[in-house]
Point group: C2
Chain length 391, copies 2
């Protein structure tokens, strides 16, 4: 077990009807003016935004609306939000939505309190000194942003999707009501399932480390997501399934499963180039294509972990004489599962062709200035080969 | 999954040498005067206390020493600490030790900032309004108090051991260096192992609830503690074993495994009467006696959970025709394990006889004013029968 710092201070209010407490929660902290941030029309159409605004007003809280966060949020829009937030003198940024709204809220919460352009923080050229607190009402189980230190955003001019971690990004509180996810369409639900699994698996399978507790928790989370995912796809209003997905989503990205180990979110980095260049590609769908390819490219270099994954998560029988067959079986089961929930497994299904591969690989290494680390190192050549594997 | 609130804000610094950062950590928060609280001589003899004081002073922090926390801390001693803490105007209570020092620190941190007698808070007659923050340098993996909302203390006049939960009890930061537990003697290590397992198992096995994520995490934690416990008993300086015990200890009592479920710490309540009346009985040893008796008394009323426990935690084979045999096997494996790490399984081994049973049962129900809840309810009669089972 490596040394680590674990800090996940977000207060979580979980369950049926919990979002109705938003007024008393916000007032309890003493906030006066909320920057209410959301994405598209769904939170309006469902009546959720109305409910939130009513509850806030009833509690004597002032608010400013700022909608329009895109599924892959962009820095140009965040800059508008930053300017508005400053002008209005808000003291809390409240995101109502999924990872897009939450991540953009985090960028706004930080950007509004610092002079530098927000992209400087995202690219780690500068470090923020302060930030507004962030609150969340979650409507989509996927990114884990409701408890994480992460904020990912795309520079629309450059076509680059990047993220950075900061304690300023950890929400003060998050309200998680699984009922709010009943209306999430099947494709988005499936994308969320993949993203949640990947947050755990990236920590579990990338850089060889010894961390038994994190292993066991990771395996438990992924097993739960697999069964809850099937159930939620079959019945969108299965409360227990939606609840398990939601809570697994939060626990998979708040660093709990990273404690004591080294890791790098390799598949995420490789996937970011897809949605950086092709913003219409959903993050989870991109991951469903990349991860199996990464696994097939990598498994012989970390056979013990890939066999452990197959046996413990997928209940494969261990082939002691030929463990690589067990490892492959785990990969195949993963692919079958992704396929069964409607996810793509090939770049061509996402409309991405061979001609984009080289550019994505170059960008992924930040133009040759970084390698991704796993059981082996992934430079431009290796990343290109992985893209090729899933063409 | 029931509705729940999850709030575990403690910042954890985990690993080799982390305690040496205490000066910069405390200074980083802006604290000026530390109430340094510890138990007996071991933290002095080991040189740890010296190191802590040196680091604090180097960082310009003032400090007041208050030692003497007993293994089952007593309210009379806490009252002395409260008076001293007030007189000295400290702004942080720093516990250096195990659960005893930490729990008493929590009682002092709360008591020093409120007028009422501290026992009023422990017995839930009053609710505290404020408290000093608490920091921890952990030297014993057992109670989980370094991340929990719990503080347990004994009223030495009345011979009653009670505890209550409060967010004020959650430490601001905890420094967990497994190397500091290398010198913990075998008996204490074993008591700690039992306490850690019990924190998880009480949530897992008491009140029937559906909470799959919490189940999986619980099973993972207990499996890890079982193997790490064996390893640490065999080699006290096995870093990985000590690290797994320490981190499992924290995660087992910060409410993570309670999320979404109902539970009651039934065996803990029954055990408190032992160490309430017989303060020399170590908490973990008492639990090792009580828990198997509680399991034998209870298992037929929650057969699904006891079979799941046997199969998933102890790798027993499921007997589909006679599941009660599987459940019993899980209980037997637990007893064998406790015995193998040197724990008692009988009250007589702790020097407690039949003559004390009735009084303990009466006190446990708070003189007939409460029942303990599990798959069934436990009143005075049931609790007495459980004590009788382990005579």
């Amino acid at each position: 077990m490596n040394n680590f710092i674990y800090y996940a201070p977000t207060k979580v209010y979980f369950g049926k009807g919990e979002h109705e407490k938003v007024g008393e929660i916000v007032a309890g902290y003493g906030f006066k003016k909320v920057f209410l941030h959301f994405g598209g029309g769904s939170v309006k159409r469902s009546g959720l935004l109305d409910t939130v605004e009513t509850k806030l007003r009833e509690a004597g809280i002032d608010l400013v609306e700022f909608g329009g966060a895109q599924p892959n949020p962009v820095i140009s829009h965040a800059r508008e939000g930053i300017a508005l937030c400053r002008r209005e003198g808000c003291d809390l940024v409240l995101a109502v939505g999924g990872g897009s709204a939450i991540d953009e809220s985090k960028v706004i919460a930080v950007g509004s309190q610092n002079d530098a352009d927000p992209w400087e923080f995202t690219t780690k050229k500068k470090v923020p000194e302060k930030a507004l607190p962030v609150g969340v009402i979650l409507t989509l189980a996927a990114t884990g942003s409701e408890m994480s230190a992460s904020a990912v955003i795309t520079n629309d001019e450059l076509g680059l999707k990047r993220g950075y971690n900061s304690d300023f990004h950890r929400p003060l509180f998050s309200i998680l009501n699984p009922e709010l996810t009943y209306t999430v369409p099947p494709y988005q639900t499936a994308c969320g399932i993949v993203d949640i699994m990947m947050h755990t698996l990236e920590r579990y399978m990338t850089i060889p480390s010894e961390a038994e507790i994190s292993d066991r928790i990771a395996e438990g989370l992924v097993k739960t997501v697999i069964t809850a995912g099937r159930a939620a796809m079959a019945n969108p209003k299965d409360y227990e399934a939606r609840a398990n997905l939601m809570w697994a989503g939060s626990l998979s990205h708040n660093d709990l499963t990273g404690c004591g180990r080294s890791y790098m979110t390799v598949s995420h980095q490789i996937e970011h180039e897809l949605s950086g260049m092709f913003p219409e590609v959903a993050h989870g769908a991109g991951l469903a294509v990349i991860f199996p390819a990464w696994m097939r490219y990598t498994y012989k270099h970390y056979l013990s972990r890939f066999t452990q994954y197959a046996v413990r998560v997928w209940n494969c029988e261990m082939n002691f004489d030929h463990p690589e067959r067990t490892a492959l079986e785990g990969i195949e089961k993963t692919e079958e599962y992704f396929r069964s929930i409607g996810m793509p497994l090939r770049l061509s299904e996402l409309g991405i062709g061979e001609d984009s591969i080289h550019e994505m690989a170059v960008k992924c290494t930040n133009y040759g200035t970084r390698v991704l680390k796993g059981p082996i190192e992934y430079g431009e050549k290796e990343i290109e080969e992985i893209y090729r594997l899933c063409l």
